[in-house]
Symmetry: C2
Subunit: 143 residues, 2 copies
């Protein structure tokens, strides 16, 4: 009948995600970046000029969340929105010189955070961990 938090995957997932976010924030805030901005930049560094809806698909957040994140990124000079001549509804999102320059240092910090979290994992444990997380994500998708 008792519910033990320490044995609840959801409870642990929440706590772990908060620690990842907090650690990443501490590392990249000196670069002028916030975690969600970094995630968005990851997609744009991979392919510049995506539309908002494409970003939503790739990062798997709600459209409203992405709209707000993009507004803050534009405010901070990390992206530019350009209207699409062939479709008056959509805009393409483009990197600025500022955000292009942040790619290498920001990615280094993210890798460092992952390394800290998995410091005492063996290579095999890391693989297993990623696989299990992907399976849990897949099982919850849609539900």
């Amino acid at each position: 009948m008792r519910f033990q938090k320490e044995r609840s995957a959801g409870f642990l997932a929440n706590q772990m995600a908060r620690l990842f976010a907090k650690g990443l924030q501490k590392r990249i805030s000196p670069l002028g970046l916030a975690p969600a901005q970094f995630m968005t930049l990851l997609a744009l560094w991979d392919e510049d000029g995506l539309t908002q809806s494409e970003l939503v698909r790739r990062l798997d957040v709600e459209q409203a969340t992405m709209a707000n994140t993009l507004t803050r990124m534009e405010r901070d000079g990390l992206i530019e929105r350009r209207s699409n001549p062939s479709d008056g509804r959509s805009q393409s999102v483009h990197l600025t010189e500022k955000s292009k320059a942040l790619q290498a240092p920001a990615i280094a910090e993210a890798r460092a955070q992952n390394a800290t979290a998995l410091a005492d994992f063996s290579d095999e444990e890391r693989e297993i961990f990623l696989v299990l997380m992907r399976r849990a994500i897949a099982a919850m998708h849609g539900n």
Copy 2:
């Protein structure tokens, strides 16, 4: 040089935690509960009358976060705050009849959400998954 989100523990942890929260919210919102309220109630069902600072220690969130959560819970009739006669600074947090009645159904929903996420895991995989999450959490604590 490329950073693959699908191979980043932090990215997957964030996505997984959001899916857990979304699923739990859908399950317990009919009970009039939100996820953070449920987490807080878990501690109080285990031991009623804790102080705010004790709740902070048990749930590992910042004090300000807990203060706001408790304010919303009081607004929703889930808790009562009672002043402590022996220490004018602290208050003890008490369950109400309403929140006492929610224990069994809310815990059932949380278990169901965990079961959904780990549906295709073997017993051994579940154990490993919990152990690995606890180790990642421990590695990030403090840092």
